[in-house]
Each structure stands twice: as C-alpha cells, then as structure tokens.
Symmetry: C2
Subunit: 496 residues, 2 copies
C-alpha cells in the first residue's frame, strides 16, 4: 500500500469525484476529435463547460481545502503522500487564485479565437485573428498577476506547464543551445541530405495503418487490453486511467514518415501513462508530471529510437512487406528519409536539428508580448525577422508564419518551451539509457524493447507526478537538464 495515512485516504476518497469528472471530460475531449458527429459540438462544448465548473467547485470547496491543509501539516507522510499533497496544493492554488469570471472569459474568448484562427489561417488574414490575440494576451497577463511571480510575469504561466521552470531557467537553457545549434546546422547543411524522394511518395492508407499497428505491437503497446489507436486531424495521446490510454495519428496519403513517426511519438507519451504505478490509479499523482517530462518520453521514442539506424533496420521488413514501393529502397534510405535536415517554415514538420529554433522564436515573442514590450501589431514582422535570424528563411504569408500554430488561440502561453525541454531531455535520457542498458543499439536492431521500456518505467514513468520535474531528473539521472547531451548527440549523428 502506497497510501497509508488515514487523512490522505480520506482526501483520496473525496478526490475520486474530481478524478471521475476529469476522466469524463477527457473522454469527451477524445471523442470530439475522433468520433463525435459534427453537429454535436455545441452541446459538447456546453457539457465541457459545466463539468469544468463542477470541477472548480469541488477543488475549491472549503472542506476539501481544509482537509488538504490539515493533512499537509502532519509529520511522517511518505513520499507518495507528500506527492499527493504537493499536487493538490498546486491545483487548489491555481483554482483559487484565478477568479471564476476570468476563467469563464478565457474559455469564451479562446473558443471564439480558435474559430477565428482557423478562418484567419485559411484566408491568410492576420487582422482577423489579431483582436482575439490581443484579448488573450490581456487575460494571460491578468492570470499571471493573479497567480503571482517573483521575477517575470511569464514565470507564472510557464509554471502551469512545467512546475518550477522560470524565464531564468529557459533563458539559460536556450542560451546554451542557440549558438551551438546555429553552428551545427551550418556544418550539417554542407554534407547532409536535405530531402528524399519518399517525401512525395503516395501510400495506401489501410496498408500504412497496418504498419503502424505492427510497429506498436513491436514496441510493446498493449492494444485492446489497455490501449487504442485512432485517427484525428492532429495526433495526440490521452490517458484516461492506468487501464485505458489512447493515441491517435493521421494519414495524409503521402510522406509516410509523418504518420509513422507520429505513432512512435505518441507511443512515447502513452507508455509514460501506462507505466505509472498502478497503485496510483485515480489519485492526483496518476499522470505524467509535466509537459516537458512528457515530451521527453515522446521525443525519446520518436527521435532517439525512431530516427535511429537500428530502428530503420528493425522495421524495414515490415515496411517492405506492406508498402509495395519499399522494394526500391534500403534500410539506409529509410534512415536518411527519416532524418533529412533543412530549415523549413513549419514547426511540426521540422527535423530534430532545426526544431528548437522554431521554439526559441515562439518563446522570445511570448515573453515580449506578456511584458508588453511588443504588441500584436508588431508580431508578424518580428516573426519574419526572427525566422531570418534563426534559420535564414522567411515565410511569404501568415499561414506559414505567425498563424501556423493553434497554441496562442487556446491561450496556452508558456507551453512552447516545454517542447524544447523535452526534445533536449530525450537525448540526455538516451545517453543514460545507452550507457545503462547493455547492447542498447543491438536491442533496437532486433526489436527487443522490453528492457528499454523497463528502464524508462524505473527511471521516470512509475513515479507519475510524485516528484516535480527538476527533483525527478536529479533523483533518476543525478542531474537536471543538461543541453550538452543533445548537442553531442546531434554532432555524433550528423557530423561523424
């Protein structure tokens, strides 16, 4: 039994209502993306709104808050119980700090903003989106004030996605990678392939679906018993419980790596949720701890495993068996196809060398918007300048520039840097894993992923949200995020 304290047990019993509403809301979100009939959207949105108000009520309920405060004062809580208290205190703080009207307004504005963003992107018309972005930035500034911060208003927002991470952390982090990445990119561009014919090759969707399912089986994804794979416009993962985790992918009909590597990426997210200690089921610590740590897991499988030579060799027979055009290509071709490097305009299509520059750009602009140093009128121009500065290219229109991501219309200011954190951490974890697991590469080549899964379970997954990100990294790897592993990984991979 991980939870022994009576007061904690009482809290967990109360929390089960909150868990159940989150579970329901999660399923409703999943369904909306994969199976809901189109005209269900209006009623579904109302239902989501009502559930989130009920959740807010339950989390800020005086009796519950008092229970948590009383329990927190006790001595002798074990680490699991301390984790529960830490997570609940954060949830209560966030729910109490921000007035319900502000949450309501943000929810309304982001709802409208998302629709406006879709239209604006389609029509390549930034002005259609700008007034909504203004409103969102204004609300996010308010939220930062309500939450409070020590040095920078962005700190308050960043902490929502990555507990304990601040502008100071991210500035140092990006400071350590910006120049080396630029230099690396220049050198890589001299010799490394920039494109591959498979990028325009069309595929049979049903056949690729079969490949994706076979790869999931190979990786150890418990399809049917504890997991699913479906189709949605944008791939995502949702953990509904220790016995129910779901991923999605998409099938554009050409450039099959987009679909296949999305599956491997989402598998990484899913495995995290699947390997959390089952005793945590339905408790506040039964999810991955943060966006960045989650992304480290998806990027580990996508980049460190999925973009390796050994993985290309491992899945080559599968590809050849199912995709008729594969006979023209070798495992080496697949490796190159999965790893072409070239500055490009769209973040989600970026390779692992240029990817972080896309994030740095967004991080820089978000900070400036939150402090008010720039306003949304300056944004498109600044976007283009920064693209030129970081990657040497400039978008010709808004939809390949400032309008490409959905995040700002969702009000997710502070989220982007966790993508870089995760990408960089993936290489760091890859370093440790390949050192700690004998024959790491060989295991990938022969499709033996069991030990790798167990390693990740042991070092990261099983803890759920027990420890905040920095503490988890220290505990499991003896160090916090260290970008040098990532730089060394790229150098070794692309320049040797």
């Amino acid at each position: 039994m991980v939870f022994e304290n009576e007061k904690i047990k009482e809290i967990l019993e109360y929390y089960r209502k909150i868990w159940a509403l989150n579970h329901a809301s999660g399923l409703m979100g999943w369904d909306m993306e994969v199976y809901m009939p189109k005209e269900g959207v209006r009623e579904r949105s109302v239902a989501q709104g009502e559930l989130s108000m009920l959740l807010h009520q339950l989390i800020t309920d005086d009796k519950f808050v008092e229970m948590v405060e009383k329990a927190a004062e006790q001595e002798g809580l074990n680490e699991y119980e301390q984790g529960v208290i830490r997570v609940l205190k954060r949830e209560i703080k966030h729910a109490k700090a921000i007035p319900r009207e502000v949450i309501g307004e943000l929810s309304r504005v982001t709802g409208e903003a998302t629709m406006a963003w879709r239209e604006a992107r389609e029509k390549n018309d930034y002005e259609k989106f700008k007034p909504y972005l203004d409103k969102i930035i204004e609300l996010e500034r308010k939220i930062a004030d309500y939450l409070g911060y020590e040095e920078h208003p962005y700190d308050a927002l960043a902490d929502l996605f990555e507990e304990g991470y601040t502008v100071r952390d991210y500035d140092r982090f990006f400071g350590e990678i910006e120049k080396p990445l630029k230099n690396l990119l220049q050198k890589i561009m001299e010799n490394w392939p920039k494109e591959h014919p498979l990028e325009s090759r069309e595929y049979d969707k049903e056949k690729l679906k079969k490949v994706n399912l076979e790869i999931l089986k190979l990786l150890g994804y418990p399809l049917e018993s504890r997991a699913r794979m479906d189709v949605s416009a944008h791939p995502f993962t949702i953990g509904l419980g220790v016995g129910d985790v779901r991923i999605t992918t998409r099938y554009e009909g050409f450039d099959f790596k987009r679909s296949l590597l999305a599956v491997v990426h989402e598998f990484g997210h899913a495995l995290y949720e699947l390997q959390i200690s089952p005793e945590f089921s339905m408790s506040p610590i039964a999810h991955g701890v943060s966006s960045g740590i989650h992304e480290s897991q998806s990027r580990f499988w996508e980049n460190i495993i999925g973009r390796s030579k050994e993985f290309a060799e491992n899945i080559y027979p599968l590809l050849k068996e199912n995709l008729d055009f594969m006979a023209e290509y070798s495992p080496e071709d697949i490796y190159i196809y999965f790893n072409t490097v070239k500055p490009s305009l769209i973040r989600v299509e970026a390779d692992e060398v240029t990817y972080n520059m896309h994030i740095l750009l967004r991080y820089t602009l978000e900070k400036l918007m939150i402090t008010g140093e720039i306003n949304t009128s300056d944004l498109p121009e600044l976007w283009n300048e920064k693209m030129e500065e970081y990657l040497g290219i400039k978008p010709k229109d808004y939809k390949d520039g400032v309008l490409q991501d959905i995040h700002w219309s969702l009000g997710s200011i502070g989220y982007f840097p966790t993508y870089s954190l995760g990408t960089v951490l993936a290489a760091q974890i890859g370093y440790h894993a390949s050192r700690d697991i004998p024959g790491f590469q060989e295991k990938i080549r022969s499709g033996e992923y069991g030990e790798i899964r167990e390693y990740l379970r042991d070092k990261v997954h099983r803890y759920g949200s027990m420890y905040p990100p920095k503490e988890l990294l220290k505990k499991s790897f003896g160090e916090e995020v260290e970008p040098r592993y990532f730089l060394e990984y790229l150098e070794k991979k692309y320049l040797s």
Copy 2:
C-alpha cells in the same frame, strides 16, 4: 421560445449541470460497449459510480427541489414548462424516495450479478445466479415500497419505465392479446414458412456493413452530421443530444437479417431522439418519454416498414449489388426470409407473432416474484411450464430458458412489458400512418421516407417527454393503446 417563464429558465440553467453529467455518463456507457480497452472497465465503473452520486446530489439538492416546487405553484405555465415540471418532479421523487445506501447496494449487487449471470449462462448453471437474483428481488421489493403504490408493488417498478402504467393496464393489455395470438399462431403455422435457407447463409461482414450504411442513408439517418453507427455485442441506441445520436449493430457472419433489421430497429429509436424539438436541447424533456413509446418507434421501423413486402422490394437492388449470393433470391424471398414464423426458445430471435408470448411469460413471472408468490427456486420449472403453455415448446437447458436475458441481473424488473407495449403500438401507429399518408406503401417501395419521418415527428417525436405516454397517445391518435390494431395487422399479413 418555448421556455419563457423566468423561474423555469432559472431551473433550466441549474439543470444544465445535471444534463452535462448525464451526457458524460451516456458517452462513457457508449464507449464502454464499443471502443474502451478491456482493462479500462474497473476505473470506468468507479467513474460511473461517482458521476451517479454527483447526479443524485444535484437532483436532491434542497435549493433545486425548492425551485421546482415554487415554479410548479405558478399559474400560466405553458405546456412545455408544465412538461419540464412533471419530469423534474418525477426525477426528484425517485431520487429522494430511495435511500442512497439502497441505490448503492443495488448498483453493487447488479454489478456482481451481471458477471455471475454471464458465467452461469455459459456454464448452464442456474444455481450460480440464483443467490444474486434473490438479493435483487429483495432490493426491488424494497424499492417498490420506498416509491409507494396503490394496488400492486409491481406498479411502482413498472412506472419507472412507463409512466402511468400499472399491473391493471398490463393485465388488461395481455388479456386482450393472449388468446387471439395463440389462435393466430396456430393458423399461421399451418401455411406460413417456418424457415428459410438464408438463415444459415454466411456473409462478408464488410459488405453487409456497406448495405447497412446505405439503408440508413435511404431511411434518412444523418450520418456524420448528427449521427453514427458502430459495432457492439448487443445493438443499442444512445441520444447524447439533439446533435449527437448513435446506434450500434452486430455482425455474426450469417443470417444477415439479424444485423440488418437491428439497424432498422435502432434507426427507429434514433429518429425519435433526432426529431425532438431542437429548442428542448439540454432540458429535462429532451428525450423520448418512455421505454414503451421508444420501442413503438423502433418496432414501427423494424416491423411495419422493415418487414414489409415494399421494403424488401425497395432494398433488393442494394442487397443484390453487395451480397453475391443474392442473385439466387427474389424480393419475395427476402420478404419471406424476414418474416418466417415459428415458436422458438430465444426472445431476441422471435418473430413478430410469437414475440409477445415471450414477454407475457417474463411479465407473469416478475409479478409473482415481486409479490413473493413464487421464489427463485421455482423459477426454472415455471419458466418451462409457461413456455409449454404459451408456445408449445420447452427449453432443454437454462441458457435457452431462464438464463437467456440480461435484464434481471441488471435489476430491470418492470421493463419487459414495455417491449410488448411498443410492439403493439407500432402496428397501431402503422394503421394511422398508412391511413393519414397517401400512398404509404408506394412510398416505402420507392424509398421515399421523408413524409413518414415527418409524420412521426409531428405525432410523436417533437414532443420529447412533454406529455406522459397515455396523454401523448390520446393527443396524437385520439386513443390509448388498442391491441386490436396489432391483431388485425398480423391477421392481414399472415392469413390473407
């Protein structure tokens, strides 16, 4: 605007929370039958339990109850508003009458009973199920007492599924059909086909799925925009909102009418939910009013339309195009295949002539169990006696006898008679529709279902739960249920 009274509007605003929880719970139930990974069941059950406790809290909340009582005292409420009050008073009454411990115990016992029933049926071992049935009958008797009744404890339970229907109603109802049905059956058996070679013919599941989807389009089912069709072990329909209604069917791989007619049946349920006035969205009257009226809609489409000669002609080209063996058969063959008549042991496979005898048997036994006139030890023997009496056949084992239905293990005592009510009403509505809609048969033959849909919308669907069943029937057809229409329908169909 259908809702104008300020107090009613306040009530509806509060009710939106209840609606949202029901919406969430409905989706969770749907998902559990169609897509949930197997091991999700434990957490899903807990989530359902927590949601139903939250629902109970919200419905019995003093403030809400007072709001409803105050609003009910007002004069000048329109019929929509009166409908809202009537439905809410029932919900409140049911929630308040039965102590929460009893609901909790019933939920626990039926959970275990369902598992025990599955095992008992598989092993053909009645004793494995008997102790659970004892417990359920005991709890149902208690519930009848808590709810209160005037003449018969069964009245209290029957009313839960069919507002206003009592043993007095059902005794009269079955009294009117029992003998005539027996006589009819004897005559029909002399000349009418008892079986058809298509009953054992295997089919390609993907092809039948295509046929089912084409038939749904033909009938006017708004696939993708407002509706879905999926696969589950037992076909069912769920209305999640006016913009989101879902049906399921199953594919056994042989005897394709089982799958196809299930689709037509569920379409009838779905159309009811889809054609409720959109202004009722998210209100207490936004669902079909009762199990029996709902079943009258599904049976109307399954029996009156789906088992007609004209329907066989209408869908014949579709069948021929998709099922390769169809070239051997004519539309007349399909008609016969859809309508073979023979006493059989299994209710869900029964034809429209023998079906009600299966229900009468269950109704008779339920009443006797609730009053304690028989106990569960007598049940298997009595089952067999009654089968002999009603249909002249006797099951050789429990799984084709007393263990065949899931209903008792779910605690749904009082539900069965609504199946007969619906089946009989379907013929009554068919009589009126064919008299009121010029060229009714011709329209089916040529696949023009628009006017039929509109007729049902006008007479039944649009009202949702505004009127209780008896009042609705009186208002729309000038009479309550009249079994003679059903008997005349059978006589005309099978004996002329």
